[in-house]
């Protein structure tokens, strides 16, 4: 992994003051603390990695340096001087440039137009003249790109190159790269790292956000670790190793005392084999995923967010077109094996396969915010009833049952769900889905944003389903919960299975390592 000594020549450091220093930075969104008292320091001619799981607050922190967000508390120093960065414009002034994870480029413009966008240098607007200067920068750092090509014709790696040239052209001395390698092939990653090393030699300070450990070790001088918004610490890359970093990243094991029963009546319910699909740009999202979900047990799915969890669940529910693979459903009533790929989402639902919410749109996908609880219950039963008239009695009864059983806090069953708190919305949704007696129940991040009591209500619901013989699939992000709630854990990394482990014996670090590992394409393991 370590092709070269990652510590740069100390003589390159021109000033004793760090290029940028953060002290006690805190930022909250509503009740969610994204960053709590974070400290960070980057010297000149140095590459600092920021390591952390998704949701650990890395991107929020970087957005505060680049002026997208403004911190609630804390100080930022540039070259030892305290500064206020209130807007992206201020960030340019302090020679900070950020390359976002989602590129900030105008698709319809050429590379040159994007690079000069927002520039107010008082010069004549002459694209040809600008083009010449940009070409000189390309030559200096070794970028190969057609500056007159429009962005929508470019590959992901070309777009990233445009982003980097953009910040360099503005004279950035501090470059922030948010998960730059997530979208690149290994060859493109090597090219990028070569460019970054060249920039480091030119005295630039580089902050790179990533969760790939081998990249951290290969490129950076020092590593700062964040975990759930907290600053954990900084280590020199030369003095650390993968397991120490993983331990810092996942944090200490916390005991939650979630009740877990032994699986009963275990049989294969859902056999998923070699699932593959592509996203809208044609890039692979699922790269040959295989696993078995069994009745009477909870199968956890762990992975960095965006590794293909959403697509996997949607594929099983019939919402995601697949390029390859089979999903075999062993029907407990008829005893037959059926392939879900041939069925419509409605047919799949009627077999008893239930997908509960994906939180990016908790309301969007499962419930209609402006409708009350009863009406939302009817979304699942509106097809029933004679002659197109609705029978409101059963859903009203169901709504009342859910409100009393799950302790939903609401003025009445006639309150629009939009007005309920997040936890209560989730209870309504879970309640409705399990009321239909599913045989496979999939829940993605069902406790995200919930307080501890609501979370335990959801865990108990999942356990109840498991005891009833339902095959439960639980996509979670908190490793402590996954380890205590699930029977087996399927770990996926960048759309492929990196391991299936027994949740009763595995350690947090082992799961963490599997999450950050990139599996061989098509690497299929089954937990047997």
């Amino acid at each position: 992994m370590k092709e070269e000594n990652p510590v740069s020549d100390p003589t390159k450091v021109t000033s004793n003051a760090p290029a940028i220093e953060l002290r006690g930075i805190t930022k909250t969104f509503g009740s969610v603390v994204a960053n709590n008292n974070v400290n960070l320091l980057v010297n000149r001619g140095e590459i600092l990695s920021i390591l952390g799981e998704n949701g650990s607050g890395k991107t929020t922190l970087m957005n505060m340096i680049s002026g997208i967000y403004f911190p609630d508390k804390g100080q930022i120093f540039i070259d030892g001087q305290e500064v206020l960065i209130r807007s992206p414009k201020d960030a340019f002034k302090y020679r900070i440039g950020m390359i976002h994870q989602h590129f900030k480029l105008v698709d319809l413009f050429t590379a040159t137009e994007n690079i000069v966008l927002g520039l107010e240098d008082g010069r004549k607007y002459d694209l040809a003249a600008y083009g010449k200067e940009i070409a000189a920068i390309c030559e200096q750092y070794g970028f190969v790109i057609d500056l007159n090509k429009k962005i929508y014709n470019m590959s992901v790696s070309e777009k990233q190159t445009v982003e980097i040239i953009k910040v360099l052209y503005r004279g950035a001395d501090i470059l922030i790269l948010d998960e730059p390698t997530a979208v690149l092939t290994p060859q493109e990653t090597e090219t990028l790292f070569a460019v970054l090393r060249r920039m480091r030699e030119a005295g630039k300070s580089i902050i790179i956000i990533t969760h790939k450990l081998h990249e951290v070790l290969s490129i950076s001088n020092r590593v700062s670790v964040l975990c759930k918004g907290q600053y954990i610490g900084t280590v020199n890359t030369a003095e650390t190793n993968e397991s120490e970093l993983t331990e810092m990243m996942v944090g200490k094991k916390i005991s939650l005392n979630i009740h877990r029963s032994e699986p009963k009546g275990v049989e294969d319910r859902l056999v998923v084999d070699n699932l593959r699909c592509v996203d809208r740009e044609g890039l692979p999202v699922l790269k040959g995923i295989s696993f078995t979900a069994k009745s009477g047990e909870i199968l956890g799915i762990a992975g960095i967010a965006g590794s293909g969890q959403r697509e996997l669940l949607e594929a099983i529910a019939g919402l995601q077109p697949l390029t390859e693979g089979t999903i075999t459903y062993n029907n407990p009533t008829s005893g037959k094996a059926e392939n879900l790929r041939d069925k419509t989402p409605t047919q799949i639902r009627e077999l008893g396969v239930r997908l509960s919410f994906v939180p990016e749109d908790r309301l969007g996908m499962g419930l209609v915010g402006n409708m009350d609880i009863v009406d939302n219950m009817m979304l699942r039963s509106y097809r029933k009833g004679p002659l197109g008239f609705l029978n409101r009695k059963p859903p009203a009864t169901l709504a009342d049952t859910i409100i009393s059983d799950l302790e939903v806090v609401t003025p009445s069953s006639k309150t629009p769900v939009r007005r309920l708190s997040g936890g209560n919305v989730q209870k309504v949704l879970v309640g409705r889905e399990i009321a239909s007696a599913p045989t496979v129940f999939m829940a993605a991040y069902p406790v995200r944003g919930l307080d501890i009591n609501s979370s335990f209500t959801i865990y108990n619901l999942l356990n109840e389903q498991k005891e009833k013989g339902v095959a439960v699939i639980f996509v979670g992000e908190d490793l402590d919960v996954l380890l205590e709630l699930c029977d087996r854990i399927l770990v996926i990394g960048s759309g492929a299975v990196t391991g299936v482990v027994d949740a009763r014996t595995v350690t947090k670090e082992q799961v963490g390592l599997l999450m950050t590992k990139t599996a061989q394409e098509g690497g299929t393991e089954d937990g047997e």
Partner: protein, 335 residues
């Protein structure tokens, strides 16, 4: 040929241009707004307000003075028109940019508001004049606005086709050309297009997104308002009657789509739309059309717009698509 050319085509062309000018003002203004990502469906109301603004200005001045000073006689209605339509743009911006109200709902509400407001002022002025007909007649101001170039009549059919229009008609073409130049050849235009394509990108590049939206929408509304002013002061010979403006505002919005958001194309598009708008008069004579067929012919601009929409949606060429963020409000800290 020459008889047909001189007696039918030349007058038809001139009338098409005259019909097209209000559409050209409206469409150029709407393009500026839409390029910032805001679909201002309040344009018909804005043009109506521009018209009544001009009428109010002219009315006050005509009441006060016996002999109109040519400069003031033009400037006062012009400034009133710009003020009224500019205020409509400001109101639209305040609602959609600052308060982030739904753009379609706001636009439609402003059109209803503008027409109602115009009719209210119009009705009040009609009451004041105590005339027998429900009109406000501003002949003296009309005489100032309809002045053509002096040598138009000396150049035969060519003079008639090219030089026989009033100054506002030429202004509409000049504004469209300037708008095309600004959008495509200047830094301001680059930034404005970026705001409409991807406000998050523009924001991250340090562009003041809200300011661009405000300025382009208000300037666009003022330009559109001039269309209303031209309609009253030139086309309608200075005679205001309530609801006289017709569906020209919607035609202007349709013209934006028809010309694929390009002000330079709008110049020709507006003449085509103007021609299609009046061609039924000529066809009636030539083909003995029934009243129902006339109505069908009048629909042509809208049908053409729908066909253009279908064509660009099918071809999916990126350059001919509407601004990518059209109709969506932007909020920086949205997650």
């Amino acid at each position: 040929m020459s008889a047909f050319f001189l007696t039918i085509f030349v007058p038809f062309f001139c009338r098409a241009v005259v019909q097209g000018v209000p559409l050209l003002f409206g469409a150029t203004g709407e393009i500026l707004t839409e390029k910032s990502g805001h679909l201002n469906l309040g344009i018909p109301g804005t043009m109506y307000m521009g018209a009544i603004g001009g009428v109010i200005g002219a009315f006050i001045y005509e009441q006060k003075v016996e002999n109109l000073n040519p400069f003031l006689g033009i400037m006062i209605p012009l400034l009133f028109s710009l003020l009224f339509s500019g205020l409509m743009g400001l109101l639209y911006c305040f609602l959609t940019v600052t308060l982030r109200a739904n753009q379609n709902v706001t636009g439609l509400a402003l059109t209803t508001f503008g027409v109602g407001c115009g009719n209210f002022f119009g009705g009040s002025l009609i009451k004041i004049t105590k005339a027998d007909v429900p009109n406000v007649i501003l002949t003296r101001t009309h005489n100032l606005f309809c002045k053509t170039l002096p040598f138009a009549s000396k150049l035969g059919w060519f003079g008639e086709m090219v030089f026989s229009y009033s100054f506002l008609a030429y202004l509409s073409v000049i504004i469209a050309v300037i708008a095309a130049f600004v959008l495509n050849k200047t830094r301001v235009g680059l930034h404005l297009r970026a705001v409409g394509e991807s406000p998050a990108t523009a924001d991250a590049a340090g562009i003041n997104v809200d300011r661009y939206k405000y300025v382009s929408t208000i300037v666009g509304s003022m330009i559109a308002g001039l269309g209303g002013l031209y309609y009253i002061m030139d086309y309608a010979c200075g005679v205001w009657s309530n609801d006289g403006f017709g569906d020209r505002g919607w035609l202007a919005v349709a013209l934006v789509i028809f010309t694929l958001w390009r002000p330079a194309l709008c110049i020709f598009g507006s003449f085509i739309f103007g021609g299609l708008y009046i061609i039924h008069n000529y066809l009636t004579q030539a083909l003995h059309l029934s009243f129902a067929s006339q109505e069908l012919v009048q629909m042509t601009p809208y049908v053409v717009t729908i066909l253009v929409l279908i064509a660009i949606s099918l071809r999916k060429k990126r350059e001919t698509q509407p601004p990518a963020h059209l109709g969506q409000n932007y909020f920086r800290e949205e997650r």
